[in-house]
Structures are given as C-alpha cells and as structure tokens.
Amino acid sequence: MMFTGTWRLLALIVRRDRIRIPIWLFALTLMTIVTAPAFEGLYKTQQERQVMAETMKNPAMTAMVGRGYGLGDYTTGAMMAHQMLLFTAITVAIMSILLVARHTRADEEAGMIEMIRSLPAGRLSNLSSALLVMIAVNLVLAAATGLGLAALRIESMDMEGSLLYGAALAAAGIFFTAVTALFAQLSENSRGTIGLSFAVLGISYLLRAIGDVSNGTLSWFSPLGWVLGTEVYVNNYWWPVAFTIAAAFTIMALALYLNSIRDLGSGFLPSKRGRSHASVFLQGPIGLGLRLQRTAIVSWAIGMLLLGISYGSVLGDLEEFIGGNEMLAEMVSPAEGVTLTEQFMTMLMSVISMICTIPPLMMALKLRGEEKKNRTEHLLVRAVSRTRLMGSYLAIALGVGISMQILAVFGLWAAGSAVMEEAILFTTMLEAALAYLPAMWVMTGVALLLIGILPQMTSLTWLYLGYSFIVVYMGDLLQFPEWMRKLSPFGHIPQLPVEEFDTAKISLLVLLAAGLMLAGFIGYNKRDLQG
C-alpha cells in the first residue's frame, strides 16, 4: 500500500525530465569518451606517459585528483582512472543530488506531493519512484560509459576495466542519490536538502584529499575514496563498488523509513519560533537578499576557506618533493625568478577563482528564482525600482565574490606559510587572485544579461562556467585549440606572478562586464515579470 502508484509516478518523472536527464547522461558520457582518446593522442609513448606520471606524483596533485595507481607502468587506462575518474564521479554526484532534490523535497515544498498524496498514491510512492529513476539513470550511465570506453579499443582499457569505470561512477551517483533522499526527509526545504547533500560531497572530497596525501586511512571514510579504491584499469577491484552500493541501499532504506513516519511538509531538523519584528538588517532589498542567502553565504565562506587551506597545506610538500627530484625541477621550471610553487599557484588561482565564481552567480540568479516564485512583485509593487532591485542583487554578488576570493587566498596563504620554508607573500597571492575578479564580473554580467533579456535561459550561465572550467583547467591536458580557451573570460587573465599584469586586457574585461551588466539592467527594466 505504501508504494501504490510508484510506477505511474515513475512515468511522470521520466516525462517531466525527458530532456533534462538525457542531457546529463549525454554530457557525462561524452566527457569520458572524448578524454580517453585525447590522452592516447597526447602521450603516445610509454616514455612520455612515464614523464607525466612523475609530474603527477606530487602531493598537490594527489590531493586534487586522488592517489595514482600503476604509476610505475602509467598506461593510458591508468592515467584515465587517475586523472578523470574522481572529477567525473563528483559531477555524477552533483547530477544525482540536483535531480533527487528536485523530485522529492522541492516538489513537496511546492505542494505537488500534496496533490499526489490526496490521490490513491502510497505514502512512499514518490520517494521510491524518484529513487528508482535515479538508480536507472546511473545504471544507464554506467553502461554507456563502460561500453563506450571499451569500444574505443585502447589497448590498456579492457572490457572489464571499462565496465568497472562505469560502475564506479554509477556507485557514486547512487550513493549521493541515497544521501539526498535522506536529507530530503531531514530538512524541511529543498535548499537545505541540496545544501546538506553538497556539504557531504565537499566533506567527502576533503577527507579523501587529506587521506590520500597522508597515510590513506581517512580516504576510506569517504565515498569518493571508495570510488578511487576500485583502482580501475590497474587492479580492477569490484568490491568497493559493491560496498558503496550496499551503503547506498542502507541509507535509502533509512530515508524510506523516515518518509513513512513523518508528516507531509515536515522535516526532522527542528524549526524554532521566530522574530515578531524585522531586525535592523532587514530593511530593504539588500538586507532581504543577504538574509535569504545567509546560510548559503556562510557555508560557501567556510568551504572556500577550507579549499584554500587544503591546497595550501600541500605547498610545503611540493617544495620538498621538487628538491629531491632534479629532473623534475629542471623540467617544469622554465620561467626565470619564479619558484615552482609559484607556478603551481597560478594553476590553483584559476581553479579557486572559478569555484569562487559559483556563489556570486547563485546570488545574482536568486533574483530570477525569486521572480519565478512571484516574490519579486512584493518589492516592485512597493517603492522599489527594478534598477534598485537588480542593483541590490548585483551588489551582493560582487561583495560575495570578492569575499570568497579573499577567504580562499587567506586559507591558501595561512596553510602555505605554515608548511613552507620560504613562504610566499600574502600580497603576492592576493594580487594573483584579485586579477581574476574581472573574469568573475564578466560571468556575473552574463547572469544579469540573461535575467534581463532571456529570463528562461538563465541556467546557461552555469553551462558557461562549466565550459570555462573544462577549457581553462583541462584545456592543456586535452590539447584544446587556444581559441576555445579564449572564449572564456578566465582564459584572458594573466597568470600572476609568472606572467606580467596586462592592463589593457583587464580593462577590456572590466568594460565587457560593465556592458553586459548594463544590458541586463536595461532589459530587466523593459520586460514583464514572469512568474
């Protein structure tokens, strides 16, 4: 009885996401299938691969992509599993979190589950149908990725390894499906559900990073550590996949149980009695915007600080490592007067900047989210102009962006100077990071432009940021042509302190950002509100 209607609701989810899910699956599969031949083309001989293995051996890389397996015989398969599996698994986890939250707590919050529950549908029908769909989605992904990789007929990538590669991704997806389903019961709103699930994902990544650079024990407390524990294409261990899925099913059972005993609309995390009057901070659009996103801002701030610290803590090992390896030191230090650490730092800065761009984009796009929920009209029917409203969200986005960047750099510097013999100056790091602000502003400008002119398409902003991440971070690795890199604002930022500060380029980016924002403001002032 609890499950009556599950199949019908399952069909409904498939119908509602008939475009969304295939896009996710297609993009994820493509990301894997395209990378493997790229590696194969990039490092043709075993010798070239071995050099790459040496480069990857340092603790900073280990913290970032995980422990390398088979570094002694660094085949294309081993390289693929080492450099791509973790990030792909994280993307699969993100997909699962977003889709599960959308079909559980978000629907419940919007009152749709109430409608369904008033019909002859079981108490667990919605959650179970969402879980089934997500399990199926992850299995399809596993099959597509596994068979796709095997079909490439790369020597070091056999059928078993390829299938395990896919299975490891699916295991990560199913695990985070379960985690999100659980938080959908605990938290009473979808923001909380998504936020807590992402927190688990972030902590998993950090635990694994710390574990991988230390003795490894900690990695076994992280589901992402389990994914890497498969040692795909080297040892092909299947048991971590089985273990991850077993853990996932346990969590799912708990989520189903909690769903069966709770009231509709309620959560297990308590809500307390609130204020009867607004505080002095809640006085206008800026106060409201900050208040609504308070939790997100605080969690991102902590996250960015931790990100900086975790990168910073490996900087000391990096120096040590290079000191003990003459060949490597010669090979990767072509620039005069800059240390290898400083060079490595420039790469970190671009990654940190792109991650720090996520919160300001969320802050800016909140304006559209509020509009969709018919809440901006409360402000606009009072003495608030559209310019002021958009300006408030822009101010929050810009402020948050700069703060995140500074926090991450502070963490990087603080941890770095604690472990390094010759610390890098804080100002040097800060300059390198702040040079990325114009790129962040261009992204924010894109968000504003879409809100103003194409409000239905605001999620394109995320696509653009994702594109930037791929071409800037992995562009060299995948040998993308230079123009692809130049399509992203992050591709134009001079890499301080290795490169010179380029005033003309930076000014152009600032102008572009201002132009995009202006167009956004004009569009927003001219269009209808669309609830």
Binding site: G274, S276, H277, A278, R375, E377, L379, L380
Partner: protein, 300 residues
C-alpha cells in the same frame, strides 16, 4: 477626479490576447468592484496597473502618472494585496510585514499592532507554516497599515474565514471614510454589493459592463411570485418576461427591471391575491454574463 484612469489597455502574450481594450476609471474616495470569471483577465489587468507587466497598447495613469514609467513614484502611495500571496518560507510573518512597511516608506506602527490583533494573527511563525489565509493576512496587515491613497486588492479574501472577512470589510470601509480609493477584484458578490460604489465586469479581456450598482441593477431582472384569482393568459407574450414556471403557490417569473411597471399593470387585470418580489441581485446579472460566454459582448 480620477485617481486611476486606464484607457484601452491591451496585453498580448505572444499570439494570445489577454486584454483587449480594457477601460477602468477609479475616482477619488470610490470603491471600484472588479468582477469576472476565472481567466477573464482580472489579475493581468491589475499587474499592468502595477507596472509588473507592460501593456502592449493603451494608457494607464495613476495619480496622473504613467503606471509603467513612474511605477516607483506611484507605488509610494499604493497598497497591493495579491490573491495568491507567495512569501519567503524562512522569514516570519512579522519580519515580512516590517520589511514591506520599510519598502513602502510610510507606515503606521500602532496600526500594525492593531491590525495584527484584529486579524488574530501570529507574526512569530515562519511563513512556510502559514496557511493561505494567514499569508493573505500578512499582505492585508502590510497594506492597511500603510498610508496609501489607492488600494489595489486582488481577491484579497479568498482564503479568509467569514469572521476575518468581516474584519477586512471594516478595513475597506474605514479606508473609504478616510477618502482613499479602492480597486477590489473579487469573486464574492455579496462583498462587492456591500462595499462597492462602481462595478466593472470583465470577460475574455474586455470590460462588458460598467456602472454604479444602481445602474447595473437596472439592467437586471426582478423575480416575481404571483397568485391571481383568474388564470393569467398569454403571459409569455408580454415583453420583458422570462422563465415562467407554474408552481404550487403560484406562478414564478423573471422580469426585466425596466419593464416591471408594464408587467405589473398587465398582471393586475387578473385580480392579484399575492405578489412577492425579490430584489435584483448582482449574481443574476453576473450569471447571465457568465453563461453567454460564446456570444461576446453583453447579453443585452
């Protein structure tokens, strides 16, 4: 003097014409009842008046200013209550009322407390836990505690219980006594009859009837129940008579209000024993307009 003057507003969403030349005039100190079936364009009209939607054609002047261009200036003197109040789930009702007051600019603190008491509202709860009625109270308290000159109310009582509806009506009447103007969109016709001076009926994006209640009553039919000594002959041939029914207590019929005198004169030939008349109701007019939905324009 007209506080709100909308002339010939059209609004198209793509090819769909939502509003097709809507005219509304709300005079100072007047309560204007805005009625019409679901989907007729009431809320769209109101959203154009508020500058949330941009009219495709026509002109809206509020306090002599343009509803789209001078929205902020106008809104300093306008209070709005939507029919469907969506609030921020993690703010309390009290916080939202205060925020709205701040955004509005001029608001009355003691009035806020008085209204919260009158509406029997708990401002310390998070908005996500409020029912529809309670969310509407948030908007109503915020609206009536502001010093607005024009109130735009879009089905403001659809979630209130009868007791609270009474409180709402008192608020409207008080505002009217203070010389404020009110545009009230409503489905509750008894409410409109009690509160409104002028009524406009919208259907399929057009205003099909407008006028004072007295004028509109004139257009409606009066129901009569009549008993005579002699049988009434050829009643159906008299102009303005409709829906004749033979009942046990007599004959029931509907008469166009303007033909009432003629019909009574005719009936009196047959020695009236009993004559009951029920006053014309807005509802009858309303029903006639609603039912004849395919003909366009008024029923008359």
């Amino acid at each position: 003097m007209a506080v709100l003057q909308a002339s010939g507003i059209t609004k198209k969403f793509g090819k769909f014409t939502a509003l097709d030349g809507v005219d509304i005039e709300v005079k100072e100190g007047e309560v204007y009842g805005f009625i019409g079936p679901n989907g007729a364009g009431k809320s769209t009209t109101i959203r154009v008046l508020l500058g949330i939607l941009k009219a495709t054609g026509g002109e809206v002047k509020i306090f002599g200013m343009d509803a789209w261009k001078d929205a902020v200036e106008i809104h300093k003197r306008v209070a709005y209550v939507p029919g469907d109040v969506n609030l921020w789930p993690n703010l309390t009702g009290g916080e939202v009322i205060d925020l709205f007051a701040k955004l509005h600019g001029n608001s009355n603190k003691s009035r806020r407390e008085e209204l919260i008491r009158k509406f029997d509202f708990d401002p310390t709860k998070k908005c996500r836990s409020y029912s529809k009625g309670n969310r509407q109270k948030v908007a109503l308290v915020a609206a009536f505690s502001s010093d607005a000159d024009l109130f735009i109310l879009d089905e403001p009582t659809s979630g209130l219980d009868p007791l609270m509806e009474r409180v709402f009506q008192e608020c409207v009447m008080k505002a009217k006594r203070e010389g404020k103007s009110i545009l009230l969109s409503s489905h509750i016709l008894s409410e409109v009859e009690r509160l409104c001076d002028t009524v406009g009926i919208i259907r399929e994006g057009k205003i099909i009837e407008t006028g004072t209640l007295a004028e509109l009553r004139h257009l409606t039919r009066t129901s009569l129940l009549v008993e005579t000594k002699q049988p009434i002959s050829q009643l159906e041939q008299i102009q303005g008579v409709h829906d004749i029914e033979n009942l046990q207590q007599g004959i029931s019929l509907q008469v166009d209000t303007e033909k009432l005198g003629d019909v009574i004169t005719y009936l009196s030939q047959f020695d009236i024993v009993k004559l009951e008349s029920a006053p014309p109701k807005l509802e009858d007019l309303f029903m006639r307009h609603y039912k004849t939905s395919n003909r366009g324009g008024g029923a008359r």
